[in-house]
């Protein structure tokens, strides 16, 4: 039995979060902390402990700074061994910050991107140790890893 890992699991509200929830069996037996952008969502899925972080997109530099500050606080206090995200931009930022502090990082691109890697997925390539897509043909085209899909 592997030793217990601290896992920080990050997903924006909506489809990203739903998909992260379908990956929860991968975290069984480990210490997990969930981060999302939509208040009320973690309670709805009984995902505890959790914290809400401010959302942001690439066009809002001030919002990005606020999100980064909240993520930094989470990473410094939780000290994750592993960070996993299904998207979107706050997830990429979480991977980047945590990797800089020594965590191993996982990106699983949203299954909604059936044609190509998502915009945030392309950004995540440089900061994810394990960079995955949920579509075999996207894996073949991008060099991302494919192991399965939450569907």
């Amino acid at each position: 039995m592997a030793s217990t890992r601290r896992i920080l699991a990050v997903a924006s509200g909506g489809g990203h979060w739903q998909q992260l929830m379908l990956m929860r069996p991968a975290f069984d037996g480990h210490e997990v902390r969930f981060l999302t952008t939509l208040p009320g969502l973690p309670e709805q899925f009984d995902a505890r402990p959790f914290a809400i972080i401010p959302d942001c997109n690439r066009n809002e530099k001030i919002a990005m700074a606020r999100t980064a500050a909240a993520l930094l606080r989470q990473v410094l206090t939780f000290r994750p061994d592993v960070v996993i995200s299904t998207g979107a931009l706050p997830g990429v930022m979480a991977l980047a910050l945590a990797r800089a502090m020594g965590a191993r990082t996982i990106w699983v691109d949203s299954v909604a991107n059936a044609e190509e890697m998502s915009m945030s997925g392309r950004l995540a390539r440089r900061v994810a140790h394990l960079w995955m897509t949920q579509w075999e043909h996207v894996a073949a085209e991008t060099g991302a890893e494919y192991a399965g899909t939450i569907l």
């Binding site: 990956m23 996982i106 909604a112 059936a114 995955m132 043909h137 192991a147 399965g148 569907l151």
Partner: protein
């Protein structure tokens, strides 16, 4: 009850018209979320067909209510619809939008349909005639129950677990 949803952004009149035509033959309550398009013929059919209701859009709570009340859901081949059907364990019939018919900017829904056809609980209507075959036929199989993992999910979870515990 059958709930049909074509999404909020693009119309899909071919699917709406097919369902409006089919509704009287099925003799079953049907709610169709039609998106931005309107057609006087649809309204006339809805007025003449008991149990057939057309709405352009639904609020999230109304969407969830319709989804959970339905015995089967019909939609375009979009991942949002497929994920919702998985979440609420509803048999899903999807019809891919065709680029040649002006229904989307390319044919990616055909590619998606070929890939999701193998999934438990997802049934692809390639042609209009498939809608009646699927909806009037024997009960359609649903997606896996929550907590029950599909083969694809098991494989993904196993890979994540191996990485986490490495």
């Amino acid at each position: 009850m059958i709930f049909a949803t074509i999404g909020t952004q693009l119309g899909f009149p071919r699917l709406v018209t097919a369902l409006v035509d089919l509704a009287p033959r099925l003799g079953e309550e049907m709610l169709i979320q039609t998106g931005p398009d309107t057609d006087p013929a649809w309204q006339a059919a809805a007025a003449a067909t008991p149990g057939l209701t057309l709405v352009q859009s639904l609020r999230p709570a109304e969407f969830e209510e319709a989804f959970t009340r339905a015995r089967a859901v019909v939609g375009h081949c979009g991942m949002g619809t497929i994920l919702s059907a998985r979440r609420w364990v509803k048999p899903l019939v999807v019809m891919p939008r065709r680029h040649a018919l002006g229904e989307h900017r390319n044919d990616h829904q055909l590619a998606t349909a070929r890939q999701v056809e193998a999934l438990p609980g997802v049934h692809v209507a390639w042609e209009i005639a498939d809608l009646e075959r699927l909806l009037a036929g024997p009960a359609l199989s649903p997606p896996p129950e929550p907590g029950e993992q599909s083969p694809g999910q098991q494989a993904l979870v196993a890979r994540l677990r191996a990485f986490i515990e490495a």
